[in-house]
């Protein structure tokens, strides 16, 4: 199974967290790393998008969004009925899993590049697009029948929140400037990308360590949910990617997008929009189980699934 050394930094972080080392990445550095990561991903996507006839993307994009919306819609009843969770918690967790994780996606891209597997660069656009329906669905589910929602504040939070803004801004800049115009920025945004991702994973490990410790209290249900949801979502993604005629790399990335759960944009939005939800549950599951599952086991499995399906012809 393919293995990407950058995940070792996650393990180092987890170790440091578990032994209660005084190691910590200062908050401002962490913020700088995420600004960098989001901009860099956006730029990469924009450059690739510029080489592509946009109209051809319309139908696949709508399909990818529609199928993606199934994830929170199906998760909600499972959480509510099987998991016996409150409406607020079920909705919030569903939104986290419908949403996507930029770092998981980056690790998948790193693996594809290490293995020299091509992929459709415009997949990055879905990092932006998939976020929005998931969060909206989450809020609707939480509020159904109960009082008013500050839709204005929520829309603002989602659209102009820093994650989407930097991703989309990077996309536009990359698109406008093109590969040639971006070249002097390459060394910062492309060549350093993986090193910065390593530092990011170190911090993620530190934080995940705290979450892992708290997992026992979540019970068997949430742990199973946090492993099965990505697997099932990835199967959806693999099938859809194959049907849409994506390459092996693109199929695997779509599976990864569906399988990943957000722990940056979604937690902030849900804390404001669904305050009754307990953030420890959703972040604990997304960051403490699903994230490590995805980078260690999930991503190699999704690659294998894509290769397997494509071996039958596209």
């Amino acid at each position: 199974m393919q293995f990407e050394p950058v995940v070792l930094f996650f393990l180092l972080g987890v170790f440091a967290g578990l032994v209660r080392s005084d190691l910590k990445i200062p908050g401002s550095i962490y913020e700088a790393l995420s600004i960098f990561l989001l901009l860099a991903i956006g730029l990469q996507g924009g450059v690739k998008l510029a080489e592509f006839p946009l109209v051809q993307l319309l139908v696949p994009a709508l399909l990818i969004l529609a199928v993606g919306a199934l994830i929170p819609l199906l998760s909600f009843p499972v959480l509510r009925l099987l998991g016996r969770m409150t409406r607020a918690d079920s909705a919030s967790i569903a939104a986290h899993y419908g949403s996507v994780s930029v770092v998981t996606f980056s690790v998948a891209v790193a693996l594809l590049m290490q293995e020299d597997i091509d992929f459709e660069g415009y997949m990055i656009v879905f990092l932006v697009l998939l976020e929005i329906p998931a969060l909206v669905i989450g809020v609707v589910l939480a509020r159904r029948g109960s009082g008013h929602t500050q839709w204005g504040r929520l829309a603002h939070e989602v659209l102009f929140g820093k994650s989407i803004l930097l991703l989309a801004g990077g996309l536009v800049i990359g698109f406008v400037a093109g590969a040639e115009g971006i070249k002097p920025l390459d060394i910062l945004f492309f060549d350093l990308f993986k090193g910065i991702l390593a530092l990011f994973l170190l911090e993620m490990g530190l934080v995940a360590a705290g979450r892992i410790a708290g997992l026992r209290s979540y019970g068997v249900f949430l742990v199973s949910f946090a492993i099965l949801t990505p697997l099932l979502s990835a199967i959806l993604g693999t099938l859809l990617g194959w049907m849409l005629g994506l390459s092996v790399g693109g199929t695997m990335l779509l599976a990864t997008l569906y399988a990943s759960a957000s722990y940056i944009a979604a937690p902030a939005a849900m804390r404001i929009a669904v305050p009754k939800a307990n953030p420890a549950l959703s972040i604990g599951a997304a960051l403490g189980i699903t994230f490590p599952f995805n980078i260690f086991l999930g991503i190699p499995i999704y690659l294998w699934m894509a290769q397997f399906l494509h071996s039958f012809g596209a």
């Binding site: 910590k24 908050g27 913020e31 934080v207 902030a268 404001i272 305050p275 009754k276 960051l287």
Partner: protein, 96 residues
């Protein structure tokens, strides 16, 4: 010297509420506020100020007793149930 008795209200709450709390405080008539970054532990667990876990902010408002009372009541009814929130008041002499 124009020292005058005033009330100091200290509000400790979640960073994610910063914009919202500021809007409330100014809407209720405060003339100003001061914020410092904080972290801490309370009934809602540890808020170590690391991302995904969130940190706290510490807001100071100097105003008359009645204003501080209004702010306390508003924040209590709207946020105490769902968010980490601690408030205390103390008499101070404003030196301006």
């Amino acid at each position: 010297m124009t020292s005058q008795p005033m009330t100091l209200l200290v509000i400790i709450s979640e960073t994610v509420l910063e914009d919202i709390l500021i809007d409330e405080i100014m809407d209720l008539g405060a003339k100003g506020y001061t914020i410092t970054e904080a972290r801490g532990r309370g009934t809602h667990g540890t808020r170590a100020g690391r991302w995904t876990q969130g940190g706290n902010i510490r807001i100071e408002v100097v105003g008359n007793a009645e204003l501080c009372q209004r702010i306390v009541q508003r924040l209590q009814s709207a946020y105490e149930q769902d968010y980490g929130l601690l408030m205390y008041t103390a008499p101070v002499e404003l030196q301006n």
